[in-house]
């Protein structure tokens, strides 16, 4: 059993989080998910979803996998040293670190992506890549894997990345079964990015 710690914050992008949760949640025998925020309590997504979270200091399980969504809230958090320190601590503890959309801006700013390849949302590309010049930013990718880091492109790409992670850890048939059960049109090829505009 692997524990996924989803680190959320106000104004996270709704689907960034819940897309991957749907995919990982389809394998309850392998993945357990805990939702956390800096102070705990109710966190609201950009679209007003009010979710209950546990304070990061009171997590029930050790973190095997960190999941970081993006969204409007990241614009403030790149200046929040306490948050970035917490993210770094979780990242150091975890075997794997997954981000969706502008979640990679948070990882980049905290320094953990230094020397790594990573991607992010097209819509916020200039802003994200300006957070660190020590990251090898890959513009054309549905998701990018480098060491223990999986970073995905915008919003829906998080679902493709989650299935890609599952294919890597288990096998591609398991990932395809989940895609089929959720009737999700999975882009299996991480480099095939139809939303990229040269």
């Amino acid at each position: 059993m692997h524990t996924i710690t989803a680190l959320v914050f106000d104004d996270f992008e709704t689907l960034d989080l819940f897309g991957p949760i749907e995919m990982f949640g389809s394998l309850p025998e392998h993945y357990r998910i805990q939702f956390t925020s800096m102070a705990g309590g109710i966190i609201r997504s950009k679209h007003g979803v009010p979710m209950q979270t546990v304070a990061v200091s009171k997590l029930a399980y050790q973190t095997d996998i960190v999941l970081v969504p993006g969204g409007l809230g990241t614009r403030q958090l790149v200046y929040n040293h306490s948050f970035l320190q917490t993210l770094t601590t979780l990242t150091d503890e975890a075997d794997w670190v997954l981000s969706v959309c502008t979640g990679s801006a948070l990882l980049a700013k905290s320094g953990v992506l230094n020397g790594k390849r990573a991607t992010s949302n097209k819509m916020a590309w200039q802003w994200v890549t300006s957070q660190s010049n020590k990251v090898y930013w890959v513009a054309q990718a549905r998701w990018v894997v480098d060491g223990k880091f999986y970073t995905s492109s915008g919003v829906s790409a998080g679902m493709d990345m989650a299935l890609g992670f599952i294919a890597d850890r288990h096998n591609i048939d398991t990932a395809r079964q989940i895609a089929n059960h959720t009737e999700y049109r999975w882009q299996e090829n991480s480099g095939m990015d139809e939303f990229y505009r040269p």
Copy 2:
């Protein structure tokens, strides 16, 4: 401004709800979303997402659009007369009623789909269609529109349906812009259902 009332229950399917919420939430100037359940309080999705809801008796706004997810929880709810009565009341009040996945089983059982065309999840097809023989069930469809009812196929199809609804109410460019911003590979054609197996 139109009010979407999302009627949830324990063990709803995570993406059934949050996929459409992402799409409608992208137009905050047009759609306001309220999350409700029979008794209010924290409702947990099948994958453990703990969401705060308002009791249906204490809704702040009148309902223009009902959104009903599917999921494991529907298996009990088809026997819950109080829930079905509430769903019928909301349906009567609303201009539009949208369901995802096995959410259409709840609509069918409550009788509001009598004489209407509708679809549902392939994975639960026998069970869903057995809830009512007065519905014209359409097996091959990403989503189906009949009068004020939009019913979608499994899980991810809810996002296609939400974009289809937005295309119908606004225009297709608006829907395509949302798909592009969320990097969602929208199946624009409601009848093109690659998950259908004859």
